[in-house]
Symmetry: D3
Subunit: 274 residues, 6 copies
């Protein structure tokens, strides 16, 4: 069950309006790796956790914090839109500065949201749940989580260079720090589970389900690829087996499908068409 307090987790005080930057900050709210994604991803993973209560709690605690991150970024967008000439379309043709703002801002901030944040990415594409991962296998999902925090911290770092606003940078420094912690925690959890289960997910596949003669072949096109020169290729794989390098070759024949039944109304086979 969830509770809300009206205060923000951290300061959100941009120095100046900046509608073009407001558009770009949307990536951190409703983008593939925005805060909506990590919040929903951790909560759905937590709600599906079976038999690992401490990890369920870690997921719920972290997902709940991410809800507060959406809140801070939504507040940032709302404040970046305050006091800017966002309804001045008619001046845009004459004044290049206004024109650049009108052309570069998200039109929905003015038309749809009345200067509020949008649940969409920096191009205005709505967030969707196809972005999130919740498989019931914690090791698989924690790998998704460390990726999400890596992509998230990378995106904040890129946006950090794109502004001189000290208030914005202050908020970003908090987000960068939290993404450091979250990478740390998922990496530690992965190490914990790999020590118990081994590195290959899922650990519960019986060996006879696997065509093991193909489990450690690196297929490399010998004509132009240099991938076989990577240093780790000559070392044991993470699961302990040696890697071999092979040229990719077909192991089966050309597939010939049977004709479709008449009810399919497909094109008739070549011999019937003549």
């Amino acid at each position: 069950m969830f509770f809300h307090r009206s205060e923000l987790q951290y300061h959100v005080k941009p120095e100046s309006p900046d509608p073009v930057f407001a558009k770009q900050v949307q990536e951190l709210i409703g983008g593939q790796f925005g805060e909506m994604s990590v919040a929903m991803q951790y909560l759905f993973q937590g709600w599906s956790t079976r038999g690992n209560e401490k990890y369920r709690d870690l997921l719920m605690d972290t997902g709940t914090q991410e809800l507060g991150h959406i809140e801070m970024l939504a507040t940032l967008v709302a404040r970046l839109l305050e006091g800017a000439p966002v309804y001045e379309q008619e001046k845009a043709a004459a004044d290049p500065i206004v024109g650049a703002i009108m052309g570069g801002m998200n039109p929905q901030h003015a038309i749809v949201h009345g200067l509020g944040a949008s649940p969409k990415d920096s191009n205005g594409v709505p967030w969707n749940a196809g972005y999130i991962v919740a498989s019931g296998n914690l090791l698989a999902d924690f790998r998704a989580n460390v990726n999400a925090e890596s992509q998230g911290r990378l995106q904040v770092a890129r946006l950090y260079s794109m502004t001189d606003d000290k208030g914005v940078k202050d908020l970003f420094s908090f987000l960068i720090a939290r993404d450091t912690m979250h990478q740390n925690q998922w990496l530690a959890a992965i190490k914990d589970l790999e020590a118990k289960e081994g590195p290959i997910v899922p650990s519960t596949v019986p060996p006879e389900w696997e065509a093991q003669e193909f489990s450690h072949i690196l297929y490399v096109n010998p004509e132009t690829s240099t991938a076989d020169q990577l240093p780790w290729v000559s070392q044991p794989a993470p699961d302990g087996h040696p890697i071999t390098v092979q040229k990719p070759e077909p192991l089966s024949e050309r597939p010939i499908l049977k004709p479709a039944p008449p009810e399919a109304h497909n094109t008739l086979p070549e011999e019937d068409l003549k």
Copy 2:
């Protein structure tokens, strides 16, 4: 540049038709972690790689193989649909076996694709490029890749239990093996890059961009959460710093936004409404 040979990489010879299973196999083609995703993800990462040609080649070699995996699964679906009563809707009300097939199959296999595979998931949702990751940061992206291969192998393992068809299981044993190799290779590549860059992505953020006092706090709700009992909490974090546990508390005040300009036609502030 790409080339195609007509033979399949591996055998695709299901013993019997099974339209309901054909629907479920679609998850491996057009689902979030189906072969369309890994193929496109690795190719787009390869096309964006700057200054690491061996890794570019690894990405291109692996993405190209995944195209061949889509091909095998599309052939599997086409063959599972051969010879089954998929256009016998009118018998479904009377014969429960046919009814279960008609109710459980993907109607588009009959109506739209004429017994061919669909570029969609097991619920018929079209594959979309919002599933894939290509950031230009290889360590971040390889984390996405090991997640994708983990989710993929997990899904094949689940489907393996759901069929008794020896031909299907033979193909799945090949896919399980290849996902083992791909997990191995991305894990090895991650280890290689972490050794050079450290575990926190991106490694190039200057320390002054980070509010470091928040970089190693685990926020845990002390009322009901047990996350602080995880064994690794009392150990150094993967980046070497100690972790501290704190109760989450707001560090800022309630945000009061300024009224919108008249052009927004928002609800007036409370004091102006009266």
Copy 3:
């Protein structure tokens, strides 16, 4: 800022597994008017509220409760999937009962989520933020909210008839009650704002922006439509003006567009084609 406690807001104890019903319950989680929609809708409206702090708090309080509703329904789905033959595809062809389950369940509950809830609707379509409304105009948005709660209570009522499980009905009786309250609160808030602003949104449009001669015409096709017999047509409209009924007629001429420039490579105009 948000907080989470591990306990559920209300009991979630289905008596028996039921994977087909689990699929249908997904509509209440990730459908257009599922709990993800109302949670995100109220939170984004709250984060954009300018100058009406009590309504901001109402939005945040209610949105936060809806997060707990997602949690209960996700738990319901997870429990409805426990102990059912969801990986028994191969038995489905022979046993019609198992066949109906395999055909009627959401395959992703087995393949993708490992018996956990999905952030999608009852057909497996991912939730997306295009469902939600946050305009900055509270009267407009409260109308969206009372609609959402009406559709939501309607859907729970329909699902209530579709199960005999007493545990499920107990949870649904709580959700029906809460949707009663939420309809009440948004209706009361609408009445409050309409009393101050009038019924037509936005209230701030100057009369000269409006072609007022068209503001109270009901266009009815006199050939076959009976809409003009509705009882309120002969009464004053909600904004106090009388309604008039007219046959729809064009008030302008056929639009003739200019030819495109050569760079468009459009089809040439008829006279240039000859």
Copy 4:
């Protein structure tokens, strides 16, 4: 059945080309509350109406008019794109005015549509049917309709400020007037149905389906929320019952899910992992 005449319902004569404004007008065509939404929403509601023929006719009459509104706005976009330098990308770097146009216009107007309107919103996101509502319950749906007309009129009002073009303003004044009428008609219809059915949708839920002890509680976080100070909280709710205010508290315990079956290949429970 539908009929079309070549004339427009109202004048569409912008004074000057304006490709950046053309992009913004797209919101009124293919946005969440654009004319495609109201047209399709009313038609699908009409086609599903059972036993209320006058309301069916009202829905069909109004939906048909909205088709004509799409037509006028598509014509507006086509005319705003006539005579503007939309294929002059190469001049954009040198000439800031052209640059602002090229940067601010929808590139698909030039590349995809050859100076025609797009069935998408102001950010280029395709219209989709997830926006529309047709439940079979007229009171619920009329609440959706009055919301749609409120959001629609709000968006036209915002765009009205963003142009000085008298021809555009003339068309907008017609649309603002029609949205006034449509708000009036759905409000009147809601009043009609509420008088017969009561305010809570659906009216047909038996009291024993509802946990009535929760039907009139306003949950307010007493730490920071001021929602309980709203004036209507101390008055009877719209359905006549008094409202009580309570602090949100969990009424159930922490949910512990059973372990998944082996076929799920989920992470094993903590005790089995060691």
Copy 5:
């Protein structure tokens, strides 16, 4: 401008309820080539037509008829859902016939739409405007149109075999006939435009924009492909030039991209990583 009459264009009188078939008929309403697609495609093409008024009128006339086709199919779905046990989920586990219906029907017909049609395809995926084509080039678009009518007639023909209901077959015989006419009309229009413009779209590209040495090469992989044996390969191409067959070979070198700037925080180039 549009007008509506309450009568249907053709009879829609299914003999019996059939909720599973109702789900499948949705493909013809909201699928990629359903009636929503052709209606919207022709209308948007019409609204963008510049300088070819007769073709504009053909597009508007045909698009308007397709609106009436949506109406008939929506009525068909509504009637197929009448009188069927669609809210009998609890009987489904015991009675395989009911189970097959519950498992095979679209759950949203019961839960969301209250026995009305849905603006979605046979898997419940919402119709979206990414399906439609309106380029401003009539020859290109008429090719899209003849494809749409071909796919549409093919789908109706497949569904025709899937029912024994005489009322449904009667409606389908009308739709099959109209798709014959529409294929005929677009084929005739294509022939008309090709006679004036030639077969290659757009006809207005100057020869110097085209690397003509590549305009008539058929690239065929000589190892396994038999495409060069197609009869027309040895004949002049439709634009009159001879076709030559070549093995695909790269004409350029391996692309080496420059390192990213520091602000991108991409992985450093290999030599800087060491």
Copy 6:
């Protein structure tokens, strides 16, 4: 099975950086008719081909080439983004040239992809498989293919005018040439199949399935439409039958649907409401 060589099929050497043009080029990668669409469309058609091996090979050969076209365009985007001020947001307000770049570029090129190509269109909407066509009927699908190549060549031609960069124009001249060939090949294949099957798809529909009295009527609104003046209306249709022109009229009556069952909780019929 697929193979990759590291070299590009053709030169990709833009003279100068141009991030705004990079955004526009995305249409050719991930737009409705971009290279992702034709590649996936031809491959899925090939994988479903039954009994026409030469056409299967043509589809696979052509689809494989299109993968190489995605590669060239992804390289073009990556190079257009090199050396441009894409992280200089803070200068944008002061310098209109930089402002136009920041406003006109795709923000995800900077924030998400680190100067790499995106699998999305020119507005940043992700590519999705709802764009592609694979029906099992080759004549229908080849009509889709000639449309795709027509739209594709049209879009490249439009973009050709929008740049002065000789390197870009060189690549575009290759793409224009290849689209000429691909239009030629699908037109030749259509002619081949039409000669065997006739022009109306599918050719296998028995005459008694078709209400033939409606198969050659052109419905034209006599009030304002001029479509009946098109020259081919007075000639035999492509399938050899004469066309007749009629005014559209309803052939059936107003549909009255039965009331919904109580479990639907729809609005009651008018007579029960009173």
